[in-house]
């Protein structure tokens, strides 16, 4: 089967295996598109069904559309507060990561100083350490700062991103030195060059990083689970996961909660999927 699709690496040329070779990949990809979307479609319709209907599992579309699940979830479980918390953390972490990654990436790409490569390697090496190793010590660090059970406890550990610095350095290295030097000759300050010359050029990479960071922070589970203990401080994934203890097998509530958690992510993704896919391909190639 695989033979049919291998042929040319260049996309423009037609396949030499005739119409089967041309149709076959589309069939496979359409099938995968279907399997990727279908669970979300079930989730969407499920969130408008009643408990009886969803556990009977006979219908695909809701027999009677009901908003009860959403009202129940927003009134009895702290979803609005969790939504606010998650937004604050995700926005804070994303803004901070963009600033630190862009600035440090620029310095590591364009400045020359003693020990630069060594420092950079040491920074990169932190990516090798599994999160489980620092789980407890990082919690102790945050708790010692008095930030346990506080949203700032999550934000403070997300101020810098090794991946972000790496990504921005990769990009900044492709900016011609002449552009920067031209600015210096004209007497521009370093800050002016960085903010007016370098940053506008890095818009695409920064967008990719912003989307990555925002979604990563929005979806993150383990670390907030450790730090945020009181219900009013929890983020969406925590409240959502808590539903399974509060309401056993109430799939219609799970579905409604999941919809509220997933919808913003889908919107961000749909608006920026171009940057997202590019960003992964970029790091994948260079990595």
């Amino acid at each position: 089967m695989q033979k049919a699709v291998i042929l040319p690496a260049t996309s423009a040329r037609p396949l030499s295996l005739g119409w089967i070779g041309r149709i076959f990949p589309h069939i496979i990809l359409l099938f995968l598109t279907f399997t990727s979307l279908m669970p979300f479609v079930w989730m969407f319709f499920g969130s408008f069904k009643t408990y009886v209907e969803i556990t009977a599992g006979k219908t695909f579309l809701p027999a009677h559309w009901t908003f009860d699940n959403y009202t129940q979830i927003t009134q009895r479980v702290g979803f609005p507060q969790a939504f606010l918390n998650t937004t604050m953390v995700a926005v804070g972490v994303t803004l901070a990561t963009l600033i630190t990654s862009a600035a440090a990436g620029y310095v590591f790409a364009k400045y020359r100083f003693w020990g630069k490569e060594q420092v950079f390697t040491v920074l990169l090496s932190t990516m090798m350490v599994p999160f489980a190793v620092v789980l407890v010590p990082l919690y102790v660090t945050v708790a010692n700062l008095g930030l346990a059970d506080k949203l700032t406890g999550i934000i403070v550990t997300g101020l810098c991103s090794t991946f972000g610095i790496f990504l921005m350095r990769q990009f900044m290295e492709s900016i011609p030195n002449d552009l920067i030097d031209a600015g210096r000759i004209d007497g521009a300050g370093e800050w002016w060059i960085f903010s007016r010359v370098v940053l506008p050029l890095a818009k695409a990479s920064l967008s990719a990083l912003a989307v990555f960071t925002f979604l990563g922070s929005w979806d993150s589970y383990l670390w907030p689970l450790v730090v945020l203990t009181s219900p009013e401080n929890q983020t969406l994934p925590l409240v959502l996961a808590g539903l399974r203890n509060l309401y056993w097998s109430r799939y219609e509530l799970y579905a409604a909660g999941s919809m509220l958690t997933v919808l913003p992510v889908m919107i961000v993704y749909m608006a920026a999927s171009k940057y997202f896919v590019q960003g992964i391909a970029m790091t994948g190639l260079k990595g």
Binding site: S11, L29, G57, V107, T126, C160, E190, L225, L240, S273
Partner: protein, 313 residues
């Protein structure tokens, strides 16, 4: 300071010049910009990255005293001894490795196959790619709850489909034997898009002349795949392999939220979490995390040694 971006001079200067060199450096605007950027970043790294790693080393070798941490007694490798003689640890190791194997064996060929399909279609590639990528961006908690619904042993959609096809139904995550394959299936479904994007980028990076040359030499589609695509994809496949092994061995959320039968999805990360924050055994938890670290490190080195292509282009 015309053309160079010099933050400080590295050349070993004669001693009498040291002061003037320093003064010169301090006058450079580049020095100040670099300093203002790097100082907070490095301070953050010391506080929130290197510090915790060092603290982890210390924690794994002491009997952690929750009330007075600084009074914790050094016990050497005793925590590790306890970890290795703890039956649940070996269960978690077995679960983690099995899960990792399922996902690895399921994802890599599938992702390669889908990427080849993507490269073969000219039109609609971006559309397909962004659709297949969709599950990657969605919260794992939402996905786990969603699949709890779909995999419900009574009336879940999966069993209904099986029944409609006249096939035997499954207990999915609630069955002791079917739990790990089921959870691996969810993981493959969620992660596929990520791996497809990386492999597709790698495939598109293979120069077309390579295929043309092979064609001229009379290589059929299979030979071109075997002797052009696979070798030239070497670096990408190595990266994929390393990412997948390190990622799956750290699995946590899916096992936690999907509701597996008994301890069938009790992964090492869950052991670390439970020991630390349920049983409050910080030293034990961190020691078991180190075992995971060493395991991942060794596997990564083996992969790099054995899979690293010996060519450059």
């Amino acid at each position: 300071m015309a053309t160079q971006t010099v933050l400080s001079h590295t050349v070993p200067a004669p001693r009498r010049n040291l002061v003037s060199t320093l003064a010169k450096t301090l006058r450079k605007p580049q020095f100040w910009f670099g300093f203002i950027v790097l100082f907070p970043v490095l301070a953050w790294y010391i506080w929130f990255a290197f510090g915790p790693v060092l603290r982890a080393f210390w924690m794994a070798t002491v009997k952690y005293d929750l009330m007075n941490p600084q009074d914790s007694k050094f016990v050497g490798l005793q925590n590790f001894q306890q970890v290795f003689s703890y039956p649940l640890f070996w269960i978690s190791v077995q679960r983690t490795i099995t899960f990792s194997l399922y996902v690895y064996v399921g994802t890599l060929p599938l992702a390669l196959f889908v990427s080849l399909c993507l490269v073969a279609v000219g039109q609609g590639r971006n559309f397909y790619q962004s659709m297949i990528f969709l599950p990657v961006v969605v919260s794992y908690v939402a996905i786990a709850l969603l699949f709890r619904m779909l995999m419900d042993p009574q009336n879940g959609q999966f069993n209904q489909i099986l029944r409609a096809l006249g096939l035997p139904t499954s207990l999915w995550v609630t069955g002791p034997n079917s739990a790990l394959p089921s959870i691996a299936m969810v993981d493959i479904w969620k992660g596929l898009g990520f791996h497809v994007v990386i492999i597709t980028a790698g495939l598109l990076g293979i120069p077309a002349e390579m295929y043309d040359a092979a064609k001229v030499d009379g290589a059929g589609p299979w030979h071109r795949f075997r002797f052009v695509t696979i070798p030239l994809l070497g670096n990408t496949l190595l990266l994929e392999s390393v990412i997948m092994v390190a990622g799956t061995l750290q699995a946590f959320t899916n096992g936690e939220v999907l509701g597996c039968a008994g301890d069938s999805c009790f992964f090492i990360s869950r052991l670390v979490y439970a020991e630390a924050f349920t049983n409050l055994r910080f030293g034990f938890a961190t020691a078991s995390a180190f075992v995971l670290f060493v395991f991942i490190l060794v596997l990564t080195i083996i992969q790099v040694r054995s899979l690293k292509p010996d060519w450059q282009y």
